[in-house]
């Protein structure tokens, strides 16, 4: 074990906090509670600072300094939001909320129609015979799977008879999709743990070269 890296104050703190969080797996305990409380405080502070420096200063203050007065409207909406703190006129904050929700609805309506709607239809229009068996079968699977998957999502028709059969096939495709995504993910999750363990055994305890 490497005493220098072990007693390095930064490593020591990071190491104890790491162990504190992991200890939750055994059971809830005072060290975890401490880590949790500290984590909530620090992270809330972190995002407050980030927002001040990456949103409020560049997107409001700087814009106003460079005389883009249209940003006064954004600032005004922001102030309306703070009126929540004044119970009598807190309803004014709904104007800002309405602005956020309205813009979001508009952006998403268009964005999803294009990317998830039209583009996916476009990508699914595939020739069933490509000249090679492998890709032809692949295309057939994509077309049938997408089609049956959509049948599953029908709300206003009972899943019975042929329609119900198609919906069943759709469910099977969804299950393969979920299984595949789950299996694929295991790797990602293990990587994260490997990273933390690499810190403990490598950077902190100096046991790995």
């Amino acid at each position: 074990m490497d005493a220098n890296s072990f007693f390095n104050i930064g490593n020591l703190i990071a190491g104890i906090l790491t162990i504190g969080i992991v200890s939750f797996l055994y059971k809830d305990n005072p060290l975890y509670k401490f880590c949790e409380a500290l984590f909530v405080g620090i992270s809330a502070g972190y995002w407050l600072v980030i927002i001040i420096f990456t949103v409020i200063l560049p997107k409001l203050y700087d814009k106003l300094v460079s005389q883009e007065y249209v940003y006064l409207v954004g600032g005004a909406f922001g102030v309306l939001m703070l009126l929540r703190l004044v119970p009598k006129i807190s309803w004014l904050s709904n104007w800002a909320l309405a602005f956020v929700v309205g813009s979001t609805a508009g952006v998403n309506l268009i964005g999803y129609m294009q990317s998830n709607g039209m583009n996916q239809v476009k990508n699914t229009i595939l020739p069933l015979w490509t000249g090679a068996w492998g890709s032809s079968i692949g295309n057939l699977i994509i077309v049938v799977g997408t089609f049956c998957g959509l049948v599953y999502f029908f709300f206003s028709k009972e899943h019975k008879g042929v329609f119900g059969g198609l919906a069943k096939v759709g469910i099977l495709f969804l299950m393969v999709t979920f299984g595949a995504a789950f299996g694929y993910t295991v790797m990602s999750r293990m990587s994260l743990l490997i990273g933390r363990m690499d810190f403990i055994f490598g950077a902190w305890w100096g046991l790995i070269r």
Binding site: I21, F24, D28, Y32, K33, C35, E36, F39, V40, I42, S43, A44, Y46, W47, M81, R84, S93, N94, L97, V100, V101, S103, T104, A105, N108, L109, I110, Y112, M113, Q114, G117, M118, N119, V121, K122, T124, I125, L126, P127, L128, W129, V143, T146, F147, L150, V151, F153, F154, F155, S156, K157, E158, H159, L174, T177, F178, G179, A181, F182, T185
Partner: protein, 377 residues
């Protein structure tokens, strides 16, 4: 051209082994970039005849306000390209372009283009198909909303996760334990969050009716504001406005895992009987769902985050999958207008399926590539 010939002749004559300058690009065409806000000119040219490895290294795009005037470089294009979009020019002014082929031996310029002006347009013609799709899809939805208003009964199939809401609230009441509602980790500028908190409205109303304890920890301040409005409203609608407290909805932290750590702590210490997770979830989905499962809570999840669906499906009792999340609020409200919109969505699905089917048949027979009309730029 003459100059180049002469100089190359001289080089050869001198017996120097040196590359000659490349042939210049030709046929430079400049035109106003279509369907845009102006301030942009597209330039196309025929590549230098010597556009090959080791000779031409790239192109420079030169611009001037008069054909004979001073040309300044406005951009570069790599070897093997024959177009460029210049986003520097001002609207309503004449411009001329030259393309310069670069090489180790020196540059060679094309003839200037004809004069070109740029201006802003009022419609993106290449998005006509988008407009048609928008009108068809929203038309279908609006039609059925109207139709539903006129009192026509609409059949909507059962969605297990939604049916279970009442059961979950009932169980929490019986056990005298809390209901925790988690509206995801994204802000109000995500449609999933908005869909999630409309579901909160129904859950809160049920909770108020059953006199169950509801807790809504959130990770975004705007979401906190919206959740408070909605919960307060639900309690008022259930006839128990006094039972509503602002403290039911509280902010923890904007941080994904800080929020998760706090929720995990909350789960194991308070042991809520029912956990709702409705909205946009990311990696925390499984941490929350597994901890919730461990404490034996009944869990109803819903998200349109495809990557997280498998975890909810594996670890929760019920999961609203994708579109079902957006349908839930309509379903729970039993409001005919909202139910009508679900029927409208089905029309949209039908149109998409029909397009795929027809498209696949036409492409397979080699008649017409229908996918072209679904390309939106």
């Amino acid at each position: 051209m003459k100059k180049i010939l002469v100089s190359s002749f001289l080089f050869l004559a001198a017996g120097l082994i040196q590359a000659q300058v490349p042939a210049p690009p030709t046929d430079v065409k400049a035109y106003d970039t279509p369907d845009d806000a102006g301030n942009s000119i597209s330039i196309e040219w025929v590549m230098s005849a010597d556009d090959k490895e080791g000779v031409v290294t790239g192109y420079e795009i030169l611009r001037s306000e008069s054909p004979q005037g001073e040309y300044t470089r406005v951009g570069d294009a790599p070897r093997g390209t024959n177009s460029y979009i210049d986003s520097g020019p001002q609207n309503g002014k004449d411009y001329f372009y030259k393309i310069r082929a670069l090489s180790a031996a020196g540059p060679s310029d094309s003839e200037p283009s004809a004069a070109v002006q740029t201006k802003a347009q009022w419609f993106k013609r290449n998005r006509v198909n988008g407009l048609v799709a928008l009108l068809l899809l929203s038309g279908g939805i609006l039609y059925f909303i109207r139709k539903a208003r006129s009192g026509k009964e609409i059949y909507i199939r059962k969605i297990a996760g939604i049916e279970a809401v009442e059961e979950a609230v009932g169980r929490a009441t019986e056990m005298g334990r809390k209901i925790v509602f988690i509206p995801g980790i994204q802000d109000m500028d995500n449609m999933q969050t908005i869909a999630g908190i409309t579901i909160l409205g129904h859950v809160a109303r049920k909770a108020a009716e059953y006199e169950a304890k509801l807790e809504v920890p959130v990770s975004r301040a705007l979401v906190m504001v919206a959740c408070r409005e909605i919960t307060k409203q639900a309690f008022t609608a259930a006839g128990r406005p006094d039972a509503y407290k602002d403290d039911m909805v509280y902010y923890i932290t904007d941080d994904q895992f800080g929020y998760t750590a706090a929720l995990d702590g909350l789960f194991v210490r308070e042991k809520p009987a029912a956990i709702f997770m409705q909205g946009a979830f990311f990696a925390e989905s499984l941490i929350l769902a597994e901890t919730g499962n461990y404490i034996g809570a009944i869990q109803i999840a819903g998200t349109a985050q495809p990557s997280q669906l498998p975890f909810f499906v594996a670890a929760c009792d019920y999961t609203l999958i994708g579109e079902e999340l957006f349908a839930a609020s309509a379903y729970l409200s039993k409001d005919v207008k909202l139910l009508g919109s679900l029927k409208g969505q089905d029309v949209g699905k039908f149109l998409m399926m029909a397009a795929i089917l027809v498209g696949v048949i036409l492409t397979s027979l080699g008649v017409y590539d229908l996918s072209r009309i679904f390309t939106v730029r």
